[in-house]
């Protein structure tokens, strides 16, 4: 069951991208998502593609993993491409068959949008592939730190996230256990009409919820007895250190932005 999890699948390796500060990587992804929308011609898209390929080669992530990340949205890419072909009526008419017409503009637009989608997914999955979930949480906490001034519960959110991450496998195991227990009592999870199958989820969810609440309560007691009293005066075990390579990464995205401004038409 655990193997099927694809969200935030982290691939441990020893590459330059892996060693980057999670803050730098988060900023990079955020800025990249913004500047992708600057590109509007072949040269600027080409530049973005080259930048992405460079990042991928720095990460040493097997292409298979990136492909797996793209698979679920493949349909979306094809769909938007087709929409553009059908409905964007700009430029020269290339092909006509009854009501079905393909314009040059539509073809180009559709292609650009697909490339944009692909690049966005590639870069974001590069983040989750090269950064462990806990580092992402740490990076988020640091980056959102200034928001504390406006009473944003940054520390609490980060703690919530890390506890959620820690309990995912535990709850998975528990689900499996309950499923087996209910199967032994005659609940059928895997066959029958959809209506029955949805109904059979109930005896799975109820015990799962009950035990989760019990867990939460015990965890709270344990945390309290270990002296937890909120983020005030707390030190951090995991230290993030911003290196020169991280600054270089930021410079590179800056250069990319400037170049995009110059190259876009």
């Amino acid at each position: 069951m655990l193997d099927k999890m694809i969200i935030g699948r982290y691939v441990p390796a020893n590459s330059l991208m892996h060693k980057m500060d999670p803050r730098a990587k988060l900023l990079l992804v955020f800025l990249f998502v913004c500047v992708v929308f600057l590109a509007n011609n072949v040269v600027s898209y080409g530049l973005l593609a080259v930048f992405t390929i460079l990042l991928i080669s720095l990460s040493k992530i097997p292409l298979r993993y990136l492909y797996n990340g793209l698979k679920p949205i493949f349909f979306l890419i094809v769909f938007t491409f087709l929409l553009h072909i059908l409905f964007t009526k700009e430029g020269e008419l290339l092909f006509e068959y009854g009501w079905f017409e393909i314009y040059e503009g539509g073809l180009i637009q559709g292609f650009f949008i697909s490339v944009r989608f692909t690049l966005l997914i590639l870069v974001t999955s590069l983040l989750t592939l090269t950064t462990s979930p806990i580092s992402i949480t740490d990076g988020m906490e640091e980056l959102l730190g200034p928001l504390k001034k406006w009473k944003m519960p940054v520390h609490e959110l980060a703690l919530m996230m890390s506890i959620a991450l820690r309990f995912i496998p535990t709850l998975m195991e528990e689900t499996e256990k309950i499923m087996k227990a209910q199967t032994a009592r005659g609940v059928d999870f895997s066959s029958g009409p959809i209506k029955d199958r949805v109904k059979s989820i109930v005896p799975l969810l109820v015990p799962l919820f009950v035990s989760s609440f019990k867990r939460a309560e015990e965890l709270a007691t344990a945390m309290e007895s270990r002296g937890y009293r909120g983020g005030e005066g707390r030190t951090k075990y995991r230290q993030l250190n911003w290196k020169t390579s991280d600054s270089l990464l930021m410079v590179s995205i800056g250069v990319l932005t400037v170049m995009l401004f110059l190259l876009r038409s």
Binding site: I134, R166, E218, T221, A222, R226, R229, T235, Y237
Partner: protein, 227 residues
């Protein structure tokens, strides 16, 4: 006792310090607790994060923290598992990590609240062994709340509680003398004590006061060689 609940009547004093709303955080620094369920007290995503959790709360600086995390994990012999995630550990290993998290804070007292009751015999042995070693090496008081009599037999001092009240207090030898009374309370006496009594009834001259099976076996062997 460490301020998760306050007394309805009377007071709780720990090392001459009265437990109040104000002193509760000081007191929690001095007392470490290990709970029953190994899964539900594991806060960190990895072993070292979990051990560091209490230190982070106490506001210990990072350098000291690294030192103490490693030291504590060494003591419970879990230093090979620094970056392991909890679901890859056995129950006994998780409890040892919990103990490491407690001793990293250098408490005076450790309370084990049925800490071994959800473990298999091997995990239980591991945890008890760890606790015993810790107690010998450092000056720590260990309060172990348990239903396991073999475990209780190894204590220096034993307190029998019944319905929330103190029933009897004394050394394990004294307590197990009560036999019938304990059984009436729904407890039992260790197998070795039982066996000694039966042997004595049948005319074997075994001395009293064996609390563990090993002691009894050793004694019986000596007796056998004398005959």
């Amino acid at each position: 006792m460490n301020g998760l609940q306050f007394a309805n009547s009377g007071t709780i004093t720990i090392n001459n310090q009265l437990l109040t709303e104000e002193s509760v955080w000081d007191v929690r620094q001095k007392i470490g607790m290990v709970f029953q369920n190994p899964d539900n007290q594991f806060v960190g995503t990895t072993v070292q994060d979990d051990v560091a959790f209490g230190l982070e709360n106490a506001g210990v600086s990072q350098q000291v923290m690294v030192e103490r995390v490693h030291g504590a994990l060494n003591k419970v012999k879990m230093n090979a598992f620094l970056n392991q995630e909890p679901h890859h550990l056995s129950g006994g290993q998780k409890q040892r990590v919990a103990i490491a998290g407690v001793i990293a804070l250098q408490p005076d007292i450790i309370i084990l609240d049925e800490a071994t009751s959800m473990l298999d015999p091997r995990g239980r042995e591991e945890v008890l062994e760890t606790v015993r070693e810790l107690k010998q090496e450092n000056e720590i008081t260990v309060i172990s709340i348990t239903h396991d009599l073999e475990e209780a037999a190894k204590a220096d001092r034993m307190i029998v509680m019944n319905q929330g009240r103190l029933y009897r207090e004394g050394s394990p030898q004294d307590i197990f003398e009560l036999e019938e009374e304990l059984i009436a309370l729904g407890l039992d006496i260790p197998f070795s004590v039982k066996l000694t009594k039966e042997l004595q009834k049948n005319g074997v001259r075994v001395v009293d006061g064996h609390l563990t099976e090993e002691e009894l076996v050793k004694d019986l062997c000596e007796l056998h060689s004398m005959m």
